[in-house]
């Protein structure tokens, strides 16, 4: 199944390593490129890691000082809206990269988000369930969606690309069913208050929440055995299995984490609007994929990483806001995100091949 994915998308970190067969290349004792530890390689490695954050800064400055956009762009309100609107995508992207790190692409995340927001609205508005209770129920449903993905992909060994396309479409159907294809408005103001209205240092709380989730995830991936095991599974599944990693359990957990994060993103999405509609959330799937791949070219280049994803989401959001202030219509979003996804996948492939090439010169 891993091969099936690799033929579709070049996964950062995985794939290529599994395919190089070291027994066939007899490595000769030669130093490769710039010896590690010198100033040159440090500068090169840090410039690669920080290229995207710097580019983001440049884009922000351009829009700030450009006469056409400056007046609106440099306001706190615009900044607040960029950071607020981005937070949902950040959490969704984080949900996406958990299974992606283990070699599974979960296409159902955006459908899960939409279902979650509708479910929250239905429970809260039509069934008068307390908003906090409703949120807990929605997260539980998100987890169940993750379990469903795991059952189809892990237990029945269906390529997750297909499996999650199927489960996602089922979720889209349930969304329409529950909502009678209509927008449900009137969600408790309490939710909107914590998500988007209340601010700290000028930025909505949801931004800090997304940042917190990204930091926790980065920590887990780097410093907890659970995170390392997920990486092992993504790199070479067979080796991980023979090393004693419970591959099925790791993948299942990753799908559940993905489901939970998607549901959380859905709650935030509903909070931002104070309402839920049965379709618009689906359009976040592409930005999430674009950010996941673009993020894999920065901070920790060559692998999906949470902080890279965060930077990528805001880079893309800033670009779109700026272009819209320049007068571009809403079609710019599709052009920008679609283009960004393609470029990000190409660049992440180039980054990965370049890194492998310096390792395999001999």
């Amino acid at each position: 199944m891993a091969e099936a994915i690799e033929t579709n998308v070049e996964a950062p970190g995985g794939g290529s390593a599994a395919r190089t067969d070291p027994s066939r290349h007899e490595p000769v004792e030669v130093r490769h490129g710039v010896p590690a530890g010198t100033m040159g390689s440090l500068v090169a490695s840090w410039s690669e890691r920080l290229a995207l954050p710097l580019l983001w800064l440049v884009v922000s400055l351009v829009f700030t000082f450009l006469p056409a956009t400056g007046a609106h762009f440099a306001t706190l309100a615009t900044f607040g809206s960029i950071f607020g609107a981005g937070a949902v995508t950040v959490v969704l992207t984080l949900g996406l990269i958990v299974p992606a790190l283990g070699g599974d692409y979960d296409l159902s995340v955006a459908y899960n988000l939409t279902l979650s927001s509708i479910l929250l609205a239905e429970l809260n508005v039509n069934l008068h369930v307390n908003i906090a209770v409703a949120a807990v129920i929605v997260v539980a449903v998100g987890a169940i969606a993750g379990v469903a993905n795991a059952i189809v992909s892990v237990k029945f060994k269906v390529d997750p690309f297909i499996a999650t396309l199927g489960t996602g479409t089922v979720m889209a159907g349930i969304t329409l069913w529950v909502s009678h294809s209509a927008t449900i408005s009137g969600i408790s103001v309490g939710l909107s208050n914590i998500v988007v209205t209340d601010r700290w240092i000028g930025l909505p709380i949801e931004f800090y929440f997304a940042l917190g989730v990204a930091l926790v995830m980065a920590f887990v991936l780097a410093y907890l055995p659970a995170g390392r095991k997920l990486k092992y599974v993504g790199l070479q599944r067979d080796v991980a299995r023979l090393t004693g990693v419970a591959v099925g359990r790791v993948r299942t957990t990753a799908f559940i984490a993905s489901g939970v994060l998607s549901a959380v993103a859905g709650i935030m999405y509903a909070g931002n609007a104070g309402a839920a509609d049965p379709s618009s959330g689906v359009s976040l799937l592409l930005p999430a994929f674009a950010a996941a791949f673009l993020g894999s070219t920065t901070i920790l280049p060559g692998q999906f990483n949470p902080l890279g994803a965060l930077v990528a989401v805001y880079f893309l959001g800033t670009g779109i806001t700026g272009l819209e202030l320049l007068g571009a219509s809403s079609y710019i979003q599709d052009l920008f995100y679609g283009g960004a996804l393609i470029i990000a996948v190409i660049v992440s492939g180039v980054v990965r091949r370049k890194r492998n090439a310096t390792k395999e010169q001999v």
């Binding site: 290529s16 390593a17 190089t20 070291p22 066939r24 490595p27 004792e29 790199l235």
Partner: protein, 533 residues
Amino acid sequence: MPTDCTAAVVEVVDINKSFNGIPVLRDVCIDLMPGEVHALLGVNGSGKSTLIKILAGYHQADSGRITVNGTTFTFPGAQASRYDAKALPIAFVHQDLGLLSDLTVAENFHVREIVSAPTGRLIPWRRKRAEAASALRAYGVGVDPNETVRRLSPVDRARVAIVRAYTDLAELTGSRTLLVLDEPTVFLPVEDRQRVWELVRGITEHGGAVLLVSHDLVDVRAVADVVTILRDGRAGTKLAVEACDEATVVAALLGERRVAHGSAPEPAATGGLHRQRGAAGPAGHGSRPLPARRHADGVVADNVRGGQVRDVSLSVATGEIVGLTGLPGSGYDELPYILYGHVPGSGRLSVGGRRTSIQTLNPQRARAEGIALVPADRAGQGAFAALSASENVGAPSIDSHKRHGCVSAKSMTDQFTRCAAQYGITPVEPTKPFSLFSGGNQQKIVIAKWLLTDPHLLLLHEPTQGVDIASKNDLIGSIRQAAQSGLAVLWCSTDQGDLVRGCDRVLVFRDGAITTELDQPLTADTILEAIYG
């Protein structure tokens, strides 16, 4: 085209190649004559694969020239840029054979032709099948051209790959061709290789030249006419195969390295080279004490079934190394994977007094029972190629590398540095990716990572395959030492020399069952007799 049959098909003269200023090949000269099998021997890092890659046009030499059937390409230079092995009568068969396993034999024969044919042209399958069948028949390879490659035995796959490569060439240029065999038989059991060598002989009788890259002296003796030994990038020694006794070859292969690596823990290790095959006698084992008695807390497996294995029972005492061998398909090489829960099976297993059902075993539970497996497929199953050496060594015990609940990179680095010293892993660079270590050092890393988990039962599948002789000695020494410190070992191999040197007992499989148990004194001959007898 020159008709002088005494002229070389391919002449390699004074080839030099450096990577980042470090010479890998120095003034290498090799003549590949028609009708001759020329073996290229060398330990890992001697420059063999670089030379092959230059012949293939993958690397460009820094200086020197290659003459192919009278056309000379001088490196570096404009001519050299025209050096394209695809357009020259040179074909390569690598270890992975390059067959598409889901296609039939006949389809594989015509893959290249179909790829280069105009897209719209119909493929005359009936004729193509007949062509493949007649090519296979001409070389005595009795394989159905309609069979899917995946379903062929490994030896037939190798033979199909060789016939395919050679017929492609023969169509191109008649008989003055060079076939480069880059260890295509490494994964074949020794006794199957004979059938490949018969095929290679057929090709040289047809007038082709063959360059055989190998680690294995036995192979070289079986088929080669001339041997060139590469050492530190120099084609130092050229020998007629008759002059290839092991002492001479080992001296030529290792040179001064032999002394440097002679510090294997087992005293007999260096001397053991000379009795790798056949020569071992009872005297060679006098210094090796057998375990006094079979402890009840060793390993007992009862009524094991699964794959080719049907109803095998065996016991291994703590401190004992038991070899498993047999013909291909006899099941001896499936037992480790069954006992590790990687291949489904049934039966009962007792490790250190704890009983387990094999039916419910999986690698994770096997590990919890204190079982470790070193698979033969080092790249695909043994280690994470892209991860650092220290993370590979630390991976099985990742839960124990914690400081304040976090995984500590330093803890893993320290562990690697310690075990590098213990097992002779070079270079001692914890952050270097696994894939950049040489074959021998990769295998040391894989074995070290499992020994560090302190298992009760170590399952080894071809642990010395594709490993240079010096590393082989280190590995055998490490395994014996680990066994003595309280470990039961099952050692699965077709290398009789290694079994003799490594094992206390050898169990010989036939048709999924143990038919012979061999005790000390072990010799390669008695093992071979038991396999075939």
